[in-house]
Amino acid sequence: MTEHFSRRDFLKLASVGAATSAILTGCGPASRYVTREPYIQMPEYTYNGQSTHYATTCRECAAGCGLVVRTMQGRALKVEGNKNHPVNLGKTCVRGQATLHGLYNPDRVQEPAKQSKRGSRDYSNLDWDAAIGVVAEALKNTKPSEMAFLMGMAPDHLFDLVSDLAKAIGAPAPIRFGARGMFEARATLSKATEVLFGQAAMPFFDMSKADLTFSFGANFLETWISPVAFTRGFANMRRGGGHGRGTLVHFESRMSQTASKADMWIPIKPGTEGLVALAIGRIAAEARGGVMPAAFADVGVEAAAKASGVHAEKLDELGKLFASAGAALAIPGGAALGHSNGLETAEAVLALNALVGGLGRAGGMYLTPLAPMQAEYHRPANLKEMAAFVEKLKGGEVKTLFIHGVNPVFELPKSLGFENALKSVPTVISFATFPDETAVQADYVFPDHHSLESWGYQRVAAGSAQSALSGAQPTVSPYYNTRATADVFLAAAALAGGKAAEALSFKDEVEFIQSKIVALVGESDGFFSAPEINTFTAYFQQYGGWWKTVDELSTPSGDALGKAIQVAEAKFAGEGEFYFHPFVSPVLAEAGANKPWLQEVPDPTTTVMWSSWVEIHPETAHELGVDNDDIVLITSEAGAVEAVVYKYPAIRPDTIAMPFGQGHTAYGRYAEGRGANPADLFGEQVNGAGDLAFAGMRVKVEKTGKTYPLSRLESRMGVYGEALGEEH
């Protein structure tokens, strides 16, 4: 041995020498599942100490970020971003990172089961043949018109499969819903683009190259639509992607995480965002000179100032700032759209982009391209449609309900009575991976695989300038006795026979997916192309999807400024003295509460862990005679909840705010019985696009005399001067 070579070096070299570079493996169609084997008997493709990486798609929300999952000996160890993926370019959000705590969650539904009585949680296990028999019977014996499919916002391949099935047997098309879609007001955004530009589409905001962004309530750094893509846009704007460090101005009644990053936070009176947008439009139009566009012609700046609580001088400053910026951008979203005037607010804000020539301009607004193989823009159901659906259930018009990927008992306004409506449905079959509130109210639970064990694809609806189809493949073999819902439907359709069997004559889920993506074989404008389906599928798995090489953003057309935009005064339900401002928890979002590490990640603005809270301005709290950790009773027109007070110094004194994401009554040990659910307070008032006016509420707050200490990361000393011995 030569002198400079130690034993330690030898061991190191021996372990890395075999295969050094990261392996981005797609297993071919022949081997459809990876196998999880004990250490003594490893699959051939694994080397001791070497990881195998699989590209797949994140399903923590519907944004469709690409993941690369590091696995070793059949175990998933770490979620990383897919560097090639156009949505997230190798990055992930906090929820994507914690996916593994869903995969290896101790409270997953482990076997297909029948519940003796709904809500009893008394399950008798079935085998999968029996389970498929139940689904087949349901398909065969229910009149198609009395069947209903309720699907989540992901995954798209299953939605396509169920759509094909429903169409073939003549059942109503599946309904798609998700709490995120409700809080993001997706129907409002697409309706507003339709009204202004004649085309329903998801707007694309090119923040990367903007010099100035006005955000009207859009929580784009938190959970809104495609947060990883927006965060990249924001970072690029700050780095000077436009003509220097970009400025962010945020209008919201409470300082959200997004607002906290703004250079200017305008604590606007709830429901006046549209009025302020119009006033800014008028001032900006005046500053730019020329003919006053009809959209802003009738606007009274003074009235807007009075209604919103923003001084006329401030509006003037903001209007001039917007007019003079090199590339100005205005984004509507969040609670601004969750008001009775939400649709008109969205129109007013989008019109600002048209005013400054921001349509189809770098740093401005575009329309997001449709995903590959997609004919027209598709949005999830709005609340109006969900309310009609619940009515249908209540009326006994549905005999069999299939539910996958959504938890309406938790997510819909309690006042809608979804849980009650289920009583009028003789058979409810849930395909939930986790024992959520809706699964607990079902007759059968036939658990789907976790997303990291699943095949699939997801159409990229936002966040990418390139048309993209994100691909999913199993990264580990199924841990429990679960089965892909697509496979269950395929097998059940074959058993049921008739039109269902004809429409779904596929051997398995993979063959179904291939039957869809075969349309892309031979396409030359993608970043890879393949002459036949097997090669295409192998690449599709290896790279985590298929996307086009060139941007396909389109410029909104039409005369957006041609007619006056009227924003009526927002209507508030209820008589209470406080405006109620619900927001999606930036860490947990709607379905993160069952992952223990997400529970222990502090909320960015309050640093609270493991619970929910109600934000009250310290002075307001003082007037109410409550302090941190006191429990208050919040009463709306529709319901009441108890919540723990967090004295939040950056909220309007006339507003209280509460995160959505906790307050589960099921959903596993880490979620159950923790915090409160603001959906219990929601009424049914909607905006012009049928989306829930979740922020259009006034509530009463009463002291209960009870306390509950919130677990928070921040020191309790010094934040409000307690450490100095001051009275607080």
Partner: protein
């Protein structure tokens, strides 16, 4: 009876323990406080979750946290820019000289502060002396119900009760990248790997690399006019440079 083993001689031109100073730059103007780094770190480094009660007592085990403070009163209130705080890997670390068990030691090779878990006897002197409050102590053996342990990273030790722990700059990733580069007879390229926090950061606010290489991305970033060190006046010579936020 003996058998003569024939082992061919292996020659290599590198020595163990080469110098390489790793460092980090964090742009607070871009950090959005999204906490992706916090979750990524926990997943990579087998950091246990402690539950509601213990976290309420300040016993949570985060190796990285985002700090924020309030300035002013409503409506003129401002939040200070989010500041991810992790072990600053001090060149002159206050935690090191106070450890009676030599569990908290300095690595000359990597210019990192190491924590040797099997030496640690849990005096907690190091955490006491750390001005950045980035060390966390295992007050209990925290439960990870089956099958959660499947997710544990085999490259990182699972710590037990009574042991101090802290950010390692993902030393397992550093070593892997170095070993790979060495086996290919080259230097580790800038940006070839990143610790879990920097890798996840959706804003790319966290940048990692060699701070002894003036051309690396992290060095260029740290040289900027906005750069500063946390509690610079203490003279701890941190390897983490923060960039002031607006």
């Amino acid at each position: 009876m003996t058998t003569e083993l024939k082992i061919s001689e292996i020659s290599a031109n590198f020595a163990e323990g080469e110098q390489g100073k790793w460092g980090m730059a964090i742009d607070m103007d871009i950090c959005t406080g999204c906490q992706a780094c916090v979750a990524a770190c926990a997943m990579e480094n087998n950091v246990p979750f402690v539950g509601e009660a213990d976290s309420g007592y300040g016993r949570s085990m985060h190796w990285i946290r985002t700090e924020r403070f309030w300035e002013g009163e409503f409506p003129e209130i401002k939040m200070t820019p989010y500041q991810p705080v992790l072990c600053q890997q001090c060149g002159h670390a206050p935690c090191e000289p106070v450890c009676p068990a030599f569990a908290t030691v300095h690595s000359q090779a990597e210019a990192l502060n190491l924590q040797v878990y099997n030496r640690c006897v849990g005096t907690r002197y190091c955490a006491n002396n750390c001005p950045y409050q980035v060390r966390s102590f295992n007050w209990r053996d925290y439960e990870r119900p089956e099958p959660l342990p499947n997710q544990l990273n085999p490259d990182v030790t699972v710590r037990r009760r009574g042991v101090m722990e802290k950010c390692t700059f993902c030393i397992q990733r550093i070593h892997r990248a170095e070993d790979v580069a060495k086996s290919e007879g080259r230097e580790v390229a800038d940006g070839e790997f990143a610790p879990a926090c920097a890798q996840a950061c959706p804003a790319d606010a966290i940048v990692f690399g060699r701070i002894d290489d003036p051309e690396s991305a992290v060095s260029k970033m740290a040289r900027g006019a906005r750069g500063f060190h946390l509690l610079e006046e203490l003279g701890t010579l941190p390897a983490v440079t923060y960039l002031k936020g607006g």
